[in-house]
Amino acid sequence: MSAVTLTDIVKRFGTFTAVHRMSLEIPQGSFVTLLGPSGCGKTTTLRMIAGLLDPTEGDISIGGRRVNDLPIHRRNLGLVFQNYALFPHKTVADNVAFGLRYRDVPKSEIEGRVAKALELVQLPNLGARYPKELSGGQQQRVALARAIVIEPDVLLLDEPLSALDANLREDMRVELKNIQQRIGVTTVFVTHDQTEALAMSDRIIVMSEGRVEQMGAPEEVYNTPASEFVANFLGASNVLAAESTGVNGDEVGLTLPDFPTLAIPRDRAPRIAGAGPAKLVIRAEKLQVRPPGPVSNGAYSIDAKVEAVDYQGQSARYFLRAGQHQLQAINMIDERPLPAGADVSVSFRAKDCAALPPETRE
């Protein structure tokens, strides 16, 4: 049974539609991420699940029970905010105990459960401090402890890591996922950070302008983007106008100027039905940039010129010109990158390509 079900959810603010007819099932115990740029409706969706916003249309169920008319304080959800939202006038222990006091938990039990929750987030012995005496990372852990100590049916995380600095963010990412798996709570995570989404999720829901662009496992969304938006939002991609020559057995043929004729696997072009305009998508890290020379068997190759190099230590991002196309490639490098102005050969494999139909939007 799914822990959270959204059925045909629409949210309008005045004439602006923030979420267009969204349906969604979140399996029990899974970690689902709503990913998208700001204004895509991901936070609005989270706030509707939380009960902080009412959907204009559609139904929300939690644990099989319709909760549209259930006020937030009776939904039994754990909510973690981007800015932590700790109560500044209460100690850490009182912050964590807050939810238990409204749940008929006997007083004798509260202390133990608070201590256990603080231990889970690796903050034992800090119960007597006030939030402002803690670092950002510690405050985030307290917020998490406060949300999970009530044993919520669903844990809702609204960009919980974005206020932390980069190193801490990566540590917390691992730890958050770890804690989630240990207590097995169904989790809905909202972020605009694709790395977080890919690293933590069982399922990613990519949203744009109030619509779901794609739902799927992280590898699926990353490798087979369902739209140009997804291709560009998750990492750097090259999206080039092409012409489909139609489906031929297990392959789809694609032609475009300055490229050899491509035959890409059918499952990488699920939405191409026949001949006609299409888009070729190749991830930047799948383009291999080498000095001109023979390429390995079965790989396509085109000639290009390096226009600019963005050196990043272990990798380099190349800005390339190949005939009429501008391409981006991100390659791991040894020692030094190829210099700007160099003539190079760019190779890629058929299975690293994906094809999309031209964008159609109602």
Partner: protein, 288 residues
């Protein structure tokens, strides 16, 4: 000059105009008042310089002064309570309203564009014998003769609340604005109803603003002398009226000085107590 010494001097250079003004216009006159309070007014009408404790003895022992001081503090206290009860919901409404906050704040400040005296006197047109309320009640047949509603303690308090309410609203508003809007949502998500999260989270966090507004209302209320003159009866004199009487009517500057210093001491003590527990920073926030 080194950069360090220049940096140390700069604040003083920037402060000097204000410090000069405060010294010349506040501290020096205050010292005059202190000196005056030890002089004596002779029967002939001339002031006798010297160090006499007669005025102070008078002020500190005369039950008449003590009763009026207590009455003044009582009126200021009641006014402050009404300001808090009326001002808090208004401030909460403004702080939580979307979009039109600026208009609401301008509306709140609007009365300041009209003289305080005019505003106070306007109550005569409303509550007076031939005022709006009496006319309305007569027209409706609820009363057969005009009722005297003015010139009592209640109308003094009414006038003071009218005058001081914006100070309370502004102070509470500022402290409510400083509270993270997510805190109430967080409390709700943890199982608290809206009323419970208000009592547990918003109210305690806005107490500094409420206290700052309360202090302002109390101090301004206790120091007023125009409102009782316009809206009070003969028995509703407040402490500042005594100072006015002594200095302007009786031309007894030494006694008036001692009286005004006594009021200053009482209100100053209150401010010190407030500062001890809440700090002046909150007050500055509310005024800014």
């Amino acid at each position: 000059m080194t950069i360090e010494s220049r940096e140390r001097r700069q604040p003083w250079i920037l402060l000097s105009p204000a410090l000069t003004a405060v010294t010349l216009l506040l501290i020096v006159p205050l010292l005059f008042i202190v000196v005056y309070s030890f002089w004596l007014r002779s029967a002939a009408g001339a002031d006798t310089p010297g160090f006499h404790l007669d005025n102070w003895q008078n002020v500190l022992t005369d039950r008449f002064y003590r009763d009026i001081l207590l009455n003044t503090l009582k009126i200021a206290g009641i006014t402050t309570v009404f300001c808090a009860l009326l001002g808090y919901p208004a401030a909460y409404f403004i702080a939580r309203s979307r979009g039109n906050k600026l208009i609401l704040l301008v509306l709140l400040m609007l009365p300041f564009w009209i003289s305080y005296i005019i505003r106070t006197m306007s109550w005569i047109n409303i509550l007076g014998i031939s005022g709006a309320l009496n006319s309305a009640l007569l027209a409706l047949g609820i009363i057969s003769e005009p009722v005297q509603m003015l010139y009592n303690e209640a109308t003094v308090i009414l006038g003071l609340v009218h005058f001081l309410l914006p100070f309370m609203v502004l102070n509470v508003y500022v402290s409510l604005e400083g509270i993270d809007i997510n805190l109430e949502d967080a409390a709700n998500s943890l199982g608290a109803t809206r009323w419970q999260s208000f009592l547990q989270v918003t109210l305690p966090l806005s107490l500094p603003g409420l206290a700052a507004g309360g202090l302002l209302c109390f101090v301004l209320g206790a120091g007023t002398y125009i409102t009782p003159v316009i809206l009070g009866g003969p028995r509703d004199a407040m402490f500042a009226n005594l100072v006015f009487e002594a200095i302007i009517r009786q031309l007894n500057w030494p006694l008036g000085s001692a009286l005004s210093l006594a009021l200053l001491a009482v209100l100053g003590a209150l401010v010190l107590i407030y500062n001890r527990y809440l700090g002046m920073a909150q007050l500055a926030k509310g005024l800014g």
